[in-house]
């Protein structure tokens, strides 16, 4: 059994190897990149991505997807910024942001689960309208937010900012939700076999909506992190966040077809993307070369992972056939 288990994680081992290889490569090219602050700054810069990717894992395991968190992050930020500017109260602003996050999750959830619409269409629409609304509401300008939030978010302990415990808590919470609660079990069940899940008496509408609510809440958290770090709400914040989050989940080994996956795998995927982004940006590349390298690395890693998975599946099939033959021989004897 242990050989099978090891084989199943072959793609994860490969990704881990590539990630470590990247660290060594980037450090070799530019030794100044790797210092006693690198880890801290990578965590701080990618905290929003990490938080959103955790929720994206739930969405993808349940056979859905969410293309809207990048735009929603900006819209929730606009709400927080406007409430803070008009009332001067950070508590009220954060509450409004929480409400906006909840609302976005419930809205997407009801459209997907209640009306049975395809998640790509619903969240593609949200990707477009939420960004438009965010830029429109703020007139395209950042809104300054103080009131202790930037101080808290940028306070450091051993070089780690407040984002480190937040990310850690989110992943522990995500692991617990997925592995130890009804929501987690049903998320796997709905993704693996939606019709079977309904027949088994699972309230698919409720639990699908909850998956999107989790996404809305994590997006709101990512928005608060971004506002704290920049001391302002930016209308163009979160651009491309949804795609990086989806890459992190899929490259970690959670399948887009649903029913399989793990937040631990996503954590590794986030580490991979974060180190790739950080290392490439540190090389001082132009935007053009950055895109070229990122695209090339992503496609190569995805291709190799798929080939590895096929290899493992083939090996498992052969072993089963052999066992079957041995069994038959035993019966015949």
């Amino acid at each position: 059994v242990s050989a099978f288990a090891r084989a199943r994680y072959l793609d994860v081992w490969f990704l881990a190897l590539i990630t470590v290889g990247m660290v060594i490569l980037f450090a070799a090219i530019q030794p100044s990149w790797l210092n006693d602050r690198t880890l801290q700054s990578i965590v701080a810069q990618n905290a929003g991505l990490a938080v959103v990717a955790m929720a994206m894992t739930f969405a993808i395991i349940s056979r859905h997807i969410d293309l809207s968190p990048g735009s929603m992050l900006a819209l929730i930020g606009a709400v927080i910024g406007i409430v803070y500017r008009d009332t001067g109260s950070l508590a009220l602003a954060l509450l409004a942001g929480l409400g906006a996050g909840l609302l976005s999750g419930v809205g997407n959830g009801i459209l997907v689960a209640g009306l049975g619409l395809n998640a790509i269409m619903v969240t593609l629409a949200a990707y477009i309208w939420a960004r438009g609304l965010a830029v429109g509401l703020t007139h395209g300008d950042p809104i300054v937010v103080h009131g202790g939030l930037p101080g808290f978010m940028n306070s450091t302990w051993a070089g780690f900012s407040a984002t480190a415990p937040i990310v850690l808590a989110v992943y522990l919470g995500g692991w617990f939700l997925l592995r130890r609660t009804r929501l987690g079990r049903y998320t796997y069940a709905m993704g693996g076999d939606p019709v079977g899940a309904r027949r088994a008496g699972i309230d698919v509408r409720l639990y699908t909506t909850l998956v999107f609510v989790l996404m809305g809440l994590m997006t709101a958290l990512a928005s608060v992190i971004a506002i704290g770090q920049l001391a302002s709400a930016q209308p163009y914040a979160g651009g491309g966040l949804e795609l990086d989050a989806i890459i992190a989940v899929i490259i970690g080994g959670t399948r887009l077809a649903g029913g399989e996956g793990h937040v631990g795998r996503t954590a590794l995927g986030v580490a991979f993307i974060s180190i790739l982004n950080s290392g490439l940006l540190n090389l001082g590349l132009t935007d053009a070369h950055y895109q070229l390298y990122k695209g090339g690395v992503l496609l190569s890693v995805l291709s190799v992972q798929i080939l590895l998975r096929r290899l493992v599946a083939e090996q498992l099939r052969r072993r089963r056939e052999q066992e079957l033959l041995v069994d038959q021989a035993a019966v015949a004897a």
Binding site: L115, A125, I128, A288, L292, G296
Partner: protein, 288 residues
Amino acid sequence: VPSFYRSSNLHVLMQQFAPLGLVTLGQMLVLLVGGIDLSVGANVLLSSVIIADLVQRQHQPLAVAIIAGIAAATAVGVVNGVLTAVIGIEPILATLGTLLLAAGTAKVILASGWIIVDDTFFADLAQHNVVLNLPIMVVLMLVLYALVAFGMRLTPFGRMVYAVGGNPASARLSGLSVTRVKILAFALGGLFAGIAGLLEVAQLGIVSQGDATGMEFRAITAALIGGLSVTAGGIGRVERTLVGALIVGMLANYQTIRGVSPTYQDAVLGGILLLAVVTDRLIRGRPS
């Protein structure tokens, strides 16, 4: 708004609309075989950059430049097809990867900010009217739509696209080369993006980094409004796709005339897409 109905506006509208229309046509083919192509916007940019660079900076003959630009875009389409159909990467991720590659290559070639294209061939393409106040580029787009519409109805390829998208397993069992049909659909998506790049050069007369960003989402929106599905391939018609693209194109044009800011235009476009999807569900009912 009377100015919306002027024939001069019809000219402008159709001119602005032609590239999006072609990209949507390509997206339709990809959606029909059950894929999705995020790389089309970058692919349009790649084609227009190559054409502009070869004509203006390298002083190559016009034909060479145009063929090179369109060929590069088609090659990206083929790569998309191979990555998804042969290797088996999910289309949304494979085309995100090629989006980065195509955009990166385009920007490397572009290097400095922009290229102004002053060859009269391009201006003629956009300005010279053929029929009904419609310029050559628009007629070219409509002809391609007509060709694809006939192709889908009357050729084996068209039937194969619907078969592969509708039910890949049974298509494979009945002896169709699913892989080949998928690659061909992605390649045609690239080809149309390449031609759209040529039309962008004609319409704008200048090529810069930000051209055609987000066009993939506008094209997908147009296709969805036109009745295509992102979940199931094999559903959708060419003429409805054209209507979907026209709606997206007209919305942008109308709001620009009304002076609606581009940001709220996006909000409206997203709202319309949502409305289209919801109405479709309410009219047709839930899938069983």
